[in-house]
């Protein structure tokens, strides 16, 4: 019991860390509040830039961590520090004494209804990136027309937006929008697709190629300018008002479907749990790493480690790399 390791969160960060710990000979306890593992990624269809099936990754990880103690539909109610170890009270009534705790609590998806000017929850033809992925995974969605003539994508919904309370860039939405625009064009080749962006931040390997491909091979239109407002016409279609800041002209585009690229924001429940054990929060609400350059995995407390989007917005490969690093840190910490 002395060397228990608890991983909070069974998304890809928690799963990858569990896998690495198992390979190092440590059997972790994985606590996940949902009835299934995989977190946000599990509800995604394909991942950029190689169009990898998300379900493949999750299935592989699930197989790899079969040897861990996994509690599904369980959340951590309380953490308290006892000398060099931590006492975790779980919602299933079990109390665990852990030598090390890994926060892999991830992020929350921004609630697009908060940007009321885009009409999510008000107009019938407005969906989010997550809704589109769920639809592509086979879920029925009456908001998506059978054959849309025009589809719009709004970038940065709740990201880099002080009025929405989030100043951070969500990193993944630019490329996700490109990916989803391509997928829409694949399913509805006749549809015109417009992406409204303020910046395209295509920093990762092959992202820029992906962008060129979307324009050259799929004919997706990219319009630089934030959408100011969306209105509904009598026939249910939408009118998007934006400004094309490259040509300096105001634009009005009619679309049959509008996809809002909801960004990542901090997970408030993780913040509340962390604060109860005197872990520090950053100004953006995410957990504060000891150092943002070299000690992203470390917290201000010994024995508490971080992995993935709990410390800030991350892509899938970044999260996986951090999870591996955290597993090694924990292993070395337990050995010392």
């Amino acid at each position: 019991m002395k060397d228990n390791v608890v991983i909070i969160g069974g998304g890809i960060a928690g799963m990858e860390a569990a896998k690495q710990l198992l390979s190092l000979g440590v059997k972790p306890i994985l606590v996940e509040k949902a009835p299934r593992l995989g977190g946000h990624v599990a509800s995604w269809h394909r991942l950029f830039p190689d169009m990898t099936l998300a379900s493949d990754i999750i299935k592989r990880l699930e197989k790899d961590i079969a040897g861990a103690n996994i509690f599904l539909e369980t959340s951590v109610e309380n953490i308290s520090r006892k000398g060099r170890s931590y006492n975790l009270v779980l919602s299933n009534g079990i109390t665990v004494n852990a030598a090390a705790v890994l926060f892999a609590t991830g992020f929350s998806l921004f609630d697009a209804a908060k940007k009321e000017e885009y009409g999510y929850g008000v107009y019938d033809r407005v969906i989010t990136n997550a809704d589109l992925e769920a639809w592509m995974n086979g879920k029925k969605d009456s908001r998506i027309p059978a054959s849309p003539a025009t589809v719009g994508f709004v970038h940065c919904v709740g990201s880099r937006d002080i009025k929405a309370g989030n100043t951070q860039c969500s990193k993944v939405c630019c490329t996700t929008a490109i990916k989803q625009a391509i997928e829409i064009k694949e399913r509805f080749p006749a549809a015109e697709v417009y992406c409204f962006y303020m910046d395209l931040r295509l920093f990762g390997k092959k992202y820029e190629d992906f962008y060129i491909e979307a324009q050259k091979d799929f004919g997706v239109h990219f319009v630089r300018g934030r959408v100011s407002e969306v209105g509904e016409r009598i026939d249910g279609s939408l009118q998007v008002k934006a400004e094309d800041t490259l040509s300096g002209r105001p634009l009005r585009v009619g679309v049959d479907l509008l996809v809002l690229m909801s960004g990542m924001c901090c997970n408030p429940k993780a913040g509340a749990l962390a604060s109860s054990v005197k872990l520090e929060l950053d100004s953006d609400g995410f957990l504060r790493s000891r150092d943002n350059v070299y000690e992203i995995n470390r917290s201000n407390l010994p024995g508490v480690f971080y992995a993935g989007a709990c410390t800030g917005t991350k892509t899938v490969p970044e999260t996986a790399a951090e999870a591996r690093a955290a597993a090694l840190e924990i292993y070395n910490y337990l050995k010392a």
Binding site: V122, A164, G165, G231, R252
Partner: protein, 602 residues
């Protein structure tokens, strides 16, 4: 009672006479200057009002109630009301009774200006008369009244919270000199009358005082120096009066007739505005009222400091203060003098010159038509649920109407107007006027209070009734065209600045909400409502400061313990929505839900 000094003069009256001459000269000169600064038609209006019996009565009543008795202040804060009225009314009575004494006992001295002020020095009570004893009793009584007010003023200076003020103004040196000299006048007068009481006579304060001092000192050597000190302090007070906040005493007597004549401020510095600036007593009631005062750094941008900077002529600060304000109008609502802070700021803003001027003449908008038009405004485009709910309710009531800016319209002009860009605002106003008048409409329903105020005040729409949807829905219900079902939720209604203080609509939203749900009242509601912080009025306030204001405003609403917040302004809705811990709904949304008979999902 006999006249004691044959010449009826002593040199100690000279400082008093000098101060009096100075202050009277200054006020007379200032009043003439201000009258000349007024536009010709305003001046005519003023003169006419001064000979109209109803305004004469109103002027006298207002001067008596506001300047002497401070009736409005009594209603707001009884302790402060007592403090001000005891000093003002008590002092006034001392002067009046002084004249009565002179008329009664030494009528041949009435032409001497200073006699009523220094009466006790110049007379001797030969044999006790009932009349004399009664007058002396009254004089002591009113002196006591004034001194009790001064005592409260001293306490307020040290601990303003005791008299119910959280913040109080920081005074300049000249104000401090004025204040301390005012505080010194009455104790010195009491002292002087005490030293003289064995000669002149006195009453319950002065005679025992005289016994005590004479038994301790054993001589009258302090008699003349104290009268000198009294006169000198009066002189100091009157000499600093024109340059200190005490200028409000004479200025208010001019402000009341100007206001009662129905004049409007046309220039931010001259004429009527000048009288308002001079009338500000620096009391600081606006400090606690101002929503900006939640940030320490912004307290110095409240109206009282604008008045001070306008007197000092500090152009940089005047511009800064004028541009920062949210124009929520609360300082004006609580001001005892009726200083129009927001209006003066708007006039200041209009002085800024912009190099670029946008042109709206070629913007195309569809022409509306129909008897009833609905204008949702730009803000409602950002909160589409408001427009849709208004539309849905009107459809259910069977109103035949045209949503004139459904596909986009021309701005009502208020943002440009509040930025002081009056010409640009006029351009938009003219376009909208043409569209509305050409449509043949007789009713214009507006859902945004910001547009509503603009339509009501700056538009000329003959034959068209401009109503807010709250008024319109209220009428529809009264006509039996809408029936509401009551929800189990309890709402607290937030009065938007432009709708409440700006347009005086307080009852309709409460009546409507009361039919649709239970309502709770926030501690500060109606005219006291706290701005949400989102106002278009401010040109310079940053987001972090606005957030603080929004949270403070929400705290006031939370105190009602309601389940949800209701408002009738799309801007308040969006602003509260960002930080509120409970649902925020527009009244139109609630009415729409409750006319269907299903409960609102929160």
């Amino acid at each position: 009672m006999i006249d004691r000094i044959p010449s009826g003069f002593n040199p100690f009256v000279i400082p008093f006479l000098f101060g009096m001459a100075f202050v009277l000269g200054y006020c007379l000169f200032g009043a003439v200057r201000i009258l000349l600064q007024l536009p010709r038609e305003d001046r005519k209006k003023l003169y006419l009002s001064l000979i109209t019996p109803t305004t004469i009565y109103k002027n006298i009543r207002d001067i008596f109630c506001d300047c002497l008795l401070h009736v409005r202040l009594w209603k707001r804060n009884p302790v402060l009301g007592y403090m001000h009225s005891s000093i003002a009314f008590g002092w006034f009575m001392l002067i009046v009774l002084g004249h009565v004494e002179v008329l009664l006992f030494v009528p041949h001295r009435i032409n001497l200006f200073y006699y009523p002020i220094f009466f006790n020095y110049f007379v001797a009570e030969a044999n006790q008369t009932l009349r004399g004893a009664f007058m002396f009793f009254l004089m002591d009584l009113f002196l006591l009244l004034v001194m009790s007010g001064i005592a409260i003023a001293m306490i307020k200076r040290v601990r303003s919270r005791i008299v119910g003020m959280r913040k109080t103004t920081r005074h300049s040196l000249i104000n401090l000199i004025g204040m301390y000299s005012l505080w010194a006048i009455f104790p010195l007068r009491l002292l002087a009358e005490c030293f003289t009481a064995h000669i002149s006579g006195g009453s319950f304060l002065t005679i025992p005082g005289n016994w005590v001092f004479r038994s301790i000192l054993g001589n009258d050597l302090n008699l003349l120096p104290t009268w000198w000190a009294y006169s000198i302090v009066l002189c100091i007070f009157m000499c600093v009066l024109p340059f200190s906040r005490y200028m409000h005493i004479p200025a208010e007597m001019m402000l009341i007739p100007l206001r009662n004549a129905g004049l409007k401020v046309r220039d931010s510095r001259k004429g009527f505005a000048r009288v308002q600036v001079m009338s500000c007593p620096n009391c600081g009631v606006c400090l606690d009222a101002c929503p900006m005062s939640v940030s320490r750094a912004d307290v110095r941008d409240c109206t009282v400091y604008l008045m001070r900077q306008m007197r000092a002529g500090n152009e940089r600060r005047i511009k800064e203060i004028s541009e920062k304000c949210l124009l929520c109008g609360k300082c004006e609502a609580v001001c005892q003098e009726g200083v129009e802070g927001p209006k003066l700021r708007l006039l200041e803003r209009a002085k800024t010159e912009y190099r670029l001027s946008p042109d709206y003449s070629d913007i195309y908008v569809a022409a509306p038509s129909g008897k009833v038009l609905y204008f949702s405004g730009c803000m409602s485009q950002l909160t589409p649920s408001v427009g849709r709910s208004v539309e849905s309710v009107m459809r259910k009531a069977g109103v035949d109407f045209d949503w004139m800016d459904r596909e986009g319209g021309i701005c009502c002009g208020r943002p440009m107007f509040t930025a002081g860009r009056l010409e640009e605002a006029r351009g938009m106003v003219r376009r909208n006027e043409e569209l509305i008048l050409a449509s043949g409409a007789d009713t214009l329903v507006v859902s945004c209070p910001i547009c509503f105020k603009m339509f009501r005040e700056e538009y000329s729409l003959p034959g068209v009734r401009v109503v807010h949807y709250l008024e319109y829905f209220d009428e529809l219900i009264a006509e039996g065209r809408l029936t509401l079902e009551k929800s189990e939720l309890c709402y607290v209604y937030h009065d938007p600045c432009e709708l409440g203080r700006g347009s005086g609509i307080y009852d309709q939203p409460r009546r409507l909400l009361g039919r649709a749900a239970a309502i709770a009242e926030a501690p500060k509601a109606r005219a006291e409502s706290v701005c949400c912080g989102g106002s278009l009025g401010s040109l310079t306030l940053d987001f972090a400061r606005r957030e603080k204001m929004t949270r403070a405003s929400l705290e006031n609403l939370y105190a009602s313990h309601a389940d949800a917040i209701a408002t009738a302004c799309p801007l308040c809705l969006a602003t509260f929505g960002r930080y509120s811990d409970r649902p925020v709904r527009d009244v139109a949304e609630i009415i729409d839900q409750q006319t269907k008979g299903n409960n609102i999902e929160l």
